[in-house]
Symmetry: C2
Subunit: 174 residues, 2 copies
């Protein structure tokens, strides 16, 4: 066993097995943005399909939309999940700028704390939008360059709540 | 000569040579979104750099922000430019979801018509945001899958003006 796979008392860490990311499974947490099925419109003389307005965006009463880029260190599975966070004032969309999978960890809220997390593996070409206030893990690409466009709320509030787990989870590939 | 390289009278088409996309060259037309230089913030325990709020977004008085996906047929250089368009009611950002170059054609406005176009070639990892009302060519990826996340205005107006050129341009690699 490695340092990541057991608690201080030597017990194995509780496990979360990754699931394939689908729009239906992810709906309570947010939106899957993908060019699947027929486009909503054909534009540019039929040479481009538009999959229209696919994210439930929410920038709160005092926020505005902004685009930032995130460049994150790639991680590996199994992955030790120690913390979840949420943004009470706005939604947050992550668009990978490479055709790679990334790990998306979310949890329902249980009385102000995250419930048991779920872990989703994206397919290349999928992006996600997290609903305002959704508990989630930090950005975890699985391959370089870990480059994402992030469409989220710009505002003056902290807009961040962190929850450190008493016992981490080990996320393993399903 | 091919059909694309001459006018009806047999004269060669006027040429536009591509330029490398840089933030400075592109500023009159919009923003280059790229993770270059030091990030504005380090987040997630130092494992992620945030290049913060890099786009001049504008969704007009009656619009809202939306995320759509575009899937466009790849084109090739030389490219025959026949039309420019603009969106009077909102900005439009294009984020490539693969690490590939694409062609960005823009023009200044000259009394309600596009002036002489300029053509930029992106580097992999660069995205762009077009300012509200900027004349531009249609989305022209140069490689499959031609998949982009588009952040633009959702609203009820047509928000589209097209200008078909009397004489097309031939865009060639610089």
């Amino acid at each position: 066993m490695t340092w990541a796979a057991e608690t201080a008392s030597g017990a194995p860490l509780p496990r979360i097995v990754t699931e394939q990311l689908t729009a239906e499974a992810f709906r309570p947490f947010g939106d899957v943005l993908e060019a699947e099925g027929a486009p909503d419109r054909l534009i540019n003389q039929g040479l481009c399909g538009r999959f229209h307005d696919r994210a439930r965006l929410d920038f709160g009463p005092d926020g505005r939309a902004g685009i930032s880029l995130f460049k994150a260190e790639p991680r590996a599975l199994p992955y030790r999940l120690e913390m979840l966070e949420r943004h009470p004032d706005g939604s947050q969309a992550f668009v990978p700028m490479s055709l790679t999978s990334f790990l998306v960890i979310t949890a329902e809220d249980k009385n102000g704390r995250p419930g048991t997390p779920r872990a989703f593996l994206t397919q290349p070409g999928q992006a996600i939008n997290l609903l305002r206030g959704t508990w989630h893990g930090v950005l975890t690409p699985l391959e370089a360059p870990g480059l994402f466009a992030v469409f989220d709320r710009i505002g003056t509030s902290a807009n961040l709540e962190e929850h450190w787990l008493d016992t981490p989870f080990e996320v393993t590939r399903g």
